[in-house]
């Protein structure tokens, strides 16, 4: 097959337009990538123009012609850090239009299983981070930083907004440069280009030291098992964990 490259603007709508163009032009791109990260190429390149009307048509057909479950899978799939994410999603949508609702159960298909796996990874990471987020208090407001592989904030929003309804808080994702911001009874996810936190005050330092003491003490020396700990709590989360960071 002749290599064919698609470039798009990186938005979800832009991706839906890639799907639209792929059908309209009767061709299958071998690679779809974001304009900003793309490298110079000798192969033919098609620049996809984001047209909200096209995007809407593709999106509504997901539910109408495949199923609500497939729509969810595509939405979540776009948040993952899957290798060749857009190409796999396009392939999945093509399969969906061909087989209908049963596509989400075709787990032995390499495309479907890759997507299921990636979405599983996303959900797992979001679930882990529900526990691994560490807030610090700055004058009554709470702030935390995370560095996830997947775009997990949309999956964490409902949990934290319901858990701390009367707090003002912020969770910043420094990989995808977006933040979940909340003040009593309103919240949302916003793109943020720069973010920095002030030094923790004495009171905050005190609670951190209390937590560290608890963490050190709760472990049973005779059962020490660093490998098990690292499996359960991978090292890439450690930099933001109060208890794993030296004072």
């Amino acid at each position: 097959m002749q290599p064919l490259l698609y470039r798009y603007d990186g938005s979800f709508e832009g991706f839906l337009c890639c799907v639209f163009d792929s059908y309209a032009r009767k061709e299958q791109p071998t690679e779809i990538c974001e304009e900003s990260t793309a490298q110079l190429s000798l192969f033919p390149v098609h620049r996809v123009v984001t047209d909200p009307a096209h995007a809407k048509r593709v999106f509504s057909s997901l539910r109408a012609r495949i199923s609500a479950k497939a729509e969810d899978l595509v939405l979540l799939g776009f948040l993952t850090c899957m290798h060749e994410r857009e190409r796999v999603l396009l392939q999945f949508i093509r399969l969906g239009f061909r087989y209908g609702a049963k596509v989400t159960d075709m787990l032995s298909d390499p495309t479907v299983s890759a997507l299921e796996k990636a979405v599983g990874h996303l959900r797992e990471e979001a679930h882990l981070l529900l526990g691994f987020v560490r807030f610090s208090e700055y004058e009554g407001r709470l702030a935390a930083v995370i560095s996830p592989k997947n775009q997990v904030l949309p999956l964490m929003q409902a949990h934290f907004c319901a858990r701390f309804p009367e707090e003002t808080f912020c969770i910043y994702d420094d990989v995808h440069n977006e933040a979940l911001l909340y003040r009593p009874h309103v919240g949302g996810i916003f793109s943020i280009s720069a973010f920095s936190l002030p030094e923790a005050d004495a009171r905050e330092q005190y609670f951190r030291s209390l937590w560290r003491v608890f963490y050190e003490t709760i472990a049973i020396q005779d059962r020490e098992n660093p490998k098990c700990r690292q499996t359960q709590m991978p090292k890439r989360y450690w930099p933001h964990l109060t208890e794993m960071r030296p004072e």
């Binding site: 049963k102 596509v103 159960d105 075709m106 787990l107 032995s108 390499p110 299983s113 679930h127 882990l128 529900l130 526990g131 691994f132 987020v133 560490r134 807030f135 610090s136 208090e137 709470l142 935390a144 949990h159 907004c161 319901a162 858990r163 701390f164 309804p165 009367e166 707090e167 009593p184 009874h185 609670f207 030291s209 209390l210 937590w211 003491v213 608890f214 963490y215 003490t217 709760i218 472990a219 049973i220 020396q221 005779d222 059962r223 020490e224 098992n225 660093p226 490998k227 098990c228 700990r229 499996t231 359960q232 709590m233 964990l241 109060t242 208890e243």
Partner: protein, 433 residues
């Protein structure tokens, strides 16, 4: 004494309690309140021993009037003692909770003065959390044995989970090691809690807003390896607790020597971690896979195999059950195949609805083929190149010994099979099949 010092002493005293789960109750957040609970439970950290930290696990006090031999806090043990005040502990819980360090509180206590007084202290702590802070996070509280039922009833209305530790797997061991306790004094509150939960379920069905009594159920824990009970006895006891008392969890805790009592394993001996691991595996088989204790073990084989997991052992002892045809088997049968768990079972059901199953696709469904391959057929096909004699299967399923390591006691090696080949029969007899 500062809060920091108290926290250190009272955490240290509580760390041998195993339970740290925050699961079993779904409670959404609410405007004007603080916190929520998720039925799946959320782990917030993992300590250096690899155990999950979900709750702030502390004792209210480690002063105690009892003298149980296996317990770190027995009154004859010379160690620093401390006690929180209810307000102090509630404030600490909220400060940790707001920073997302924890999912809630796990509160146990030594017996201060008497059971009722201790129970009132716990009650006051929980009251401050629930009524003053409007805390909706998870609370696990230990039922204080011997406390007044009225007090326990009030405690149960504030907590999510309540537990009474059965500690020793048999009456005899309990009497030997805890002269103050009897089997009855442990089982009585457990039965009482079970009764209250049943009654509350009834009330909740009638009146939607009836206050919930320990909505996440009760759990217990027993110490393994301090006394001579076999795994079979332990599992049968656990099964009885699940069936008769409706327990949500039984925790097993490998005994770590904390006492120089002559009645117990000597200080410095290693905790039986592998045995504890196998017991948990068997426990899971009973709770999620539909196994009975009597199927996994019997009088002739009273202990779980150290090198091979209990499900594989069961499968090897029941060749008549296999092979299982994955295209047609019902969910319960699928769950009995080694290498297939609830998740991969559901994946198989979904995948075979969408089309025919192929052996090559099984790893994608989460089936562990390394174990499953000996026990399945797929559209009538069996994996190729497998030797399906019991001996070969045993050998293939046992973990490979580390290079250069001496074979573990009881581990089969090639020599075990040699005499059989030269006509002898005693090697086969030694197989624990």
């Amino acid at each position: 004494m500062t809060t920091l010092e108290k926290l250190k002493i009272l955490t240290d005293a509580a760390k041998y309690d195993v339970a740290c789960t925050s699961s079993g109750v779904d409670r959404a957040g609410k405007a004007g309140a603080l916190g929520s609970s998720a039925a799946c439970g959320i782990c917030h950290s993992f300590s250096a021993d690899g155990r999950c930290i979900s709750l702030l696990k502390v004792l209210f006090t480690n002063r105690c009037i009892c003298d149980c031999q296996y317990c770190l806090n027995r009154r004859s043990n010379d160690m620093p003692r401390a006690a929180f005040t209810p307000r102090e502990l509630a404030d600490l819980t909220i400060a940790f909770y707001r920073r997302n360090y924890i999912e809630g509180l796990f509160l146990s206590s030594g017996i201060l003065r008497n059971a009722d007084y201790t129970c009132e202290m716990l009650l006051e702590t929980l009251r401050i959390l629930r009524r003053e802070y409007h805390f909706r996070g998870y609370i696990h509280v230990k039922a204080i044995p011997g406390a007044d039922e009225q007090l326990l009833a009030r405690l149960g209305l504030l907590a999510d989970r309540m537990s009474v530790n059965i500690e020793m797997p048999s009456e005899k061991s309990l009497q030997k090691l805890c002269p103050e306790k009897t089997r009855q004094s442990v089982l009585h509150p457990m039965g009482w809690i079970a009764e209250r939960i049943a009654q509350n379920t009834h009330e909740l069905a009638k009146y939607r807003h009836a206050p919930a009594f320990v909505p996440a159920g009760q759990s217990t824990q027993m110490i393994v390896g301090a006394t001579p009970e076999s795994d079979f006895q332990i599992l049968r006891l656990a099964q009885g607790l699940y069936q008769n008392y409706g327990l949500k969890r039984v925790f097993y805790s490998a005994y770590i020597p904390v006492s120089d009592s002559a009645l117990l394993p000597p200080l410095g001996s290693k905790p039986p971690l592998q045995r504890e691991h196998r017991l948990y595996q068997a426990d899971w088989l009973m709770r999620f896979y539909g196994f009975q204790a009597q199927e996994l073990l019997d009088e002739a084989h009273p202990n779980l195999h150290p090198q091979l997991d209990p499900k594989c052992c069961w499968a090897l002892r029941h060749p008549e059950f296999f092979p299982v045809e994955l295209e047609r088997a019902d969910p319960h049968t699928l769950l009995r195949v080694p290498g297939i768990g609830p998740k991969s079972m559901r994946a198989i059901l979904r995948a075979r609805r969408a089309g025919s199953l192929r052996l090559e696709a099984l790893p994608k469904l989460g089936v562990v083929c390394k174990r499953a391959q000996y026990f399945i057929t797929c559209s009538g096909r069996r994996p190729k190149d497998l030797v399906l004699t019991p001996e070969a299967m045993w050998r293939a399923l046992l973990p490979a010994p580390k290079k250069g390591a001496a074979p573990l006691p009881g581990q089969l090696c090639w020599e075990d099979f040699m005499p059989r080949m030269s006509g002898g029969n005693h090697a086969a007899a030694s197989l624990p099949l």
